[in-house]
Amino acid sequence: MTDRPNTDGSPFDGLPGDLMIWVLIVSELLVFGAGLAAFLGVRLTDPAGFAAAQDHLHRAAAGVNTVVLVTSGWLAALGAQAVETGRLARARGLLAAAAGMGAVFLAIKWAEYAGKAAQGIGVETHPFFTFYYLVTGFHAAHVAAGIVVLLLVAARAQAREVEAGVAFWHMVDLVWVLVFPVIYLLR
């Protein structure tokens, strides 16, 4: 935990981390939140078709990916704590491990997409899959970006940069715990 001096009396002084990373987090949550609400809205027009399409998804693999991502978030949080206390080697190791777990997430996602392609399932197969590829693909792009960010901040190991990079990674984690049940689980 870092004590932050109140420098300008701004109401945002109490926020953990930079204000701009929170602006980014809220923006991303609005985009994904709208996407998921639209998904459930379109589902109202064809609930049986959406349920049948969902049966083509691999729920267990997505469940494993949830464990991978929340574990990655835990490693990143420990890394941020380590850099704050000056344990830079430990911080770099934890952040690299978090990035590695992100790579595992993408590998599982790639296998999932390859399985769909092998079944001839594409973006235009059904509106369910249009949303599926759009939402999970956009999220996967954020995971890929987050891996790069984690590796960059791990290399420099500066407290402010690590805090911002790790906050971005937690946002990716947060989005997934909303995407996973809506797209993969709800019947």
């Binding site: 935990m1 109490g14 926020l15 953990p16 981390g17 987090i25 939140g33 998921l36 609400a37 459930l40 809205g41 589902r43 109202l44 609930p47 959406f50 049966d55 729920r59 267990a60 469940g63 949830t66 464990v67 929340v70 574990t71 978030g73 835990w74 949080a77 420990l78 704590q81 906050a167 937690h170 946002m171 984690d173 947060l174 715990v177 909303l178 996973f180 049940p181 809506v182 993969y184 689980l185 709800l186 019947r187």
Partner: protein
């Protein structure tokens, strides 16, 4: 145990519960209204996971006013998703 480690353990437990519920629904172990209740429970578990990430991983526990604001917004959003799910 560190705060973030407790949060991680909680997230694993909540994720496990979501997966068990969804597998039960997919295998036909639940039927009729129980399927809908199962879906509502899955959404509630998701809301709990999101709150845990916001409060522990993103450290809103250190900023109670922002924690309340984000918590309220997230709860309203979860209710919107629940309403859309129940309407289906």
């Amino acid at each position: 145990m560190a705060h973030v480690t407790k949060a991680w353990a909680l997230l694993l437990a909540l994720s496990g519960a979501s997966t068990v519920l969804s597998v039960a629904v997919a295998r036909g172990a639940l039927a009729g209204g129980a399927v809908t209740l199962g879906g509502a429970a899955i959404l509630a578990l998701s809301w709990a996971k999101a709150r845990t990430i916001l409060n522990a991983y993103l450290r809103l526990d250190e900023a109670p006013a922002f924690r309340r604001g984000f918590g309220l917004t997230l709860a309203l959003y979860a209710l919107l998703l629940l309403a859309l799910y129940l309407a289906g």
